[in-house]
Amino acid sequence: MKNFLFSSFLLLALAAMVISCKDDVIADPNQPTGTFTSQRTGTFVAQNGTASAGTAQIGTDENGDQFVKLGSDFTSTFATGTLTIYLSKGATYMADPGNGNPTLRLLGVVRAGGEQYFKVTTPVTSDFNYVILWCGSASIPFGNAPLN
């Protein structure tokens, strides 16, 4: 009897969890809301023998939030691991952590080619005119795309 009551309670608890999860739809903060409108665009130039290529765009969604979009033609060398992607005020990665890296904005980690969005959590001005692909582990640039 004790076992039956315990099993029934477990089943009810599981059912409640499933129903509650079904209702909680969490929006992906890295996906734009509505239509993405491109403001500037660029094409990746490969560095250090990598396969970086494809397009990058910066623009806004319908909420006015800023995003960087990598196009469906985007690719790079992922056999070595993941890459980090930055908005930068120049083609060269210039870290200055003591001063809060004023010329760089980390957007996220890239694991594969193809279309993907990265939300710019702290909006940038037009002088952030490059998207940089950076191998953060080896500290090697994999490519950059000038935004025009």
Binding site: G49, T77, A79, T80, G81, T82, T84, G136
Partner: protein, 282 residues
């Protein structure tokens, strides 16, 4: 000068011992355990460009053994018991390396011995060890402890001893296979070793070897992580002190020179090794 004299190390070090024409007689054995450490920032890409990277650090503990089977045959084995890889920016990854088992046959015995050996190498190491970046979550780099493929080395070696010296020369061919359907380029090595016996307990050794590859890569992704087409010219200086009849100690420093081949897919770094040896007859 910095670019003329380089010390070398690679993600998957090639042989750290020399090859000779001598084959252990039945029951004779030799075992060597050694540890190597290097720290490197200069990387030569498969396109021969020199890059400065975050510091790459590798510690390896090897065991190497030879045993005479009789009838001109000996078995040799090499096993990286522990390999620890990291960049200064990442956490460390550790694992065993690739096991190599070698069967050696004396073609000619006597004053000018010549031997041939076949050595399959099994992908026992961690082919996908992923080192996580210490400061950026979810970012990282593959630093495998093995290359993930089965390959076979074939070696022809000859030696000659005279007075307090010996000299050996060898050539090897590495038949590489593939990783996930991507074919590696075949490798070759040519090397020579000069030994000097200044006292009854001490050996000094100078080893030179060249490793090259054949053809152009069809799969650039095999480069850094899988060690495809690693090319170098290496010079090692070693000393081996026989403390007792059975136990000895060794020390080695590896160096590279920029000719005749250009350096490809390799880190240049100080490369030091210390070892303990055990030899005898059963």
């Amino acid at each position: 000068m910095r670019n003329l004299i380089l010390t070398l190390a690679v993600l998957f070090p090639a042989l750290v011992w020399g090859q000779s024409g001598w084959v252990k007689s039945k029951g004779e054995f030799f075992v060597k355990t050694d540890a190597f450490l290097f720290l490197a920032k200069n990387y030569y890409t498969p396109l021969e460009t020199q890059l400065t990277t975050s510091q790459f650090q590798q510690f390896t503990l090897h065991v190497y053994g030879e045993y005479g089977l009789g009838h001109r045959l000996a078995i040799q084995g090499y096993f990286p018991l522990l390999r620890v890889n990291r960049f200064e920016t990442t956490k460390a990854v550790a694992g065993i390396g690739d096991l190599r088992v070698e069967l050696k046959y004396a073609l000619i015995e006597g004053k000018f011995p010549v031997a041939i050996s076949i050595a399959p190498e099994f992908p026992t190491g961690r082919a996908n060890a992923f080192a996580e970046n210490k400061s950026i979550p979810n970012d990282g780099i593959y630093l495998p402890t093995g290359d993930g493929e089965f390959n076979v080395w074939t070696t022809l070696a000859a030696s000659h001893g005279f007075g307090k010296y010996y000299v050996s020369a060898y050539t090897s061919y590495d038949l590489r296979t593939s990783y996930k359907g991507q074919a590696f380029r075949q490798l070759y090595q040519v090397g020579a070793e000069l030994g000097y016996h200044p006292t009854s307990k001490l050996w000094l050794q100078l080893k030179y070897r060249v490793q090259g590859s054949f053809g152009e890569s069809k799969y650039p992704d095999l480069g850094f992580v899988r060690g495809d087409a690693t090319q170098f010219n290496g010079l090692n200086i070693g000393a081996w002190y026989e403390a007792t009849e059975h136990i000895g100690f060794s020390a080695e420093i590896g160096s590279g020179i920029p000719f005749p081949l250009a350096l490809r897919n390799i880190y240049g770094a100080p490369f030091y090794g210390l070892g303990v040896t055990w030899k005898g007859k059963r």
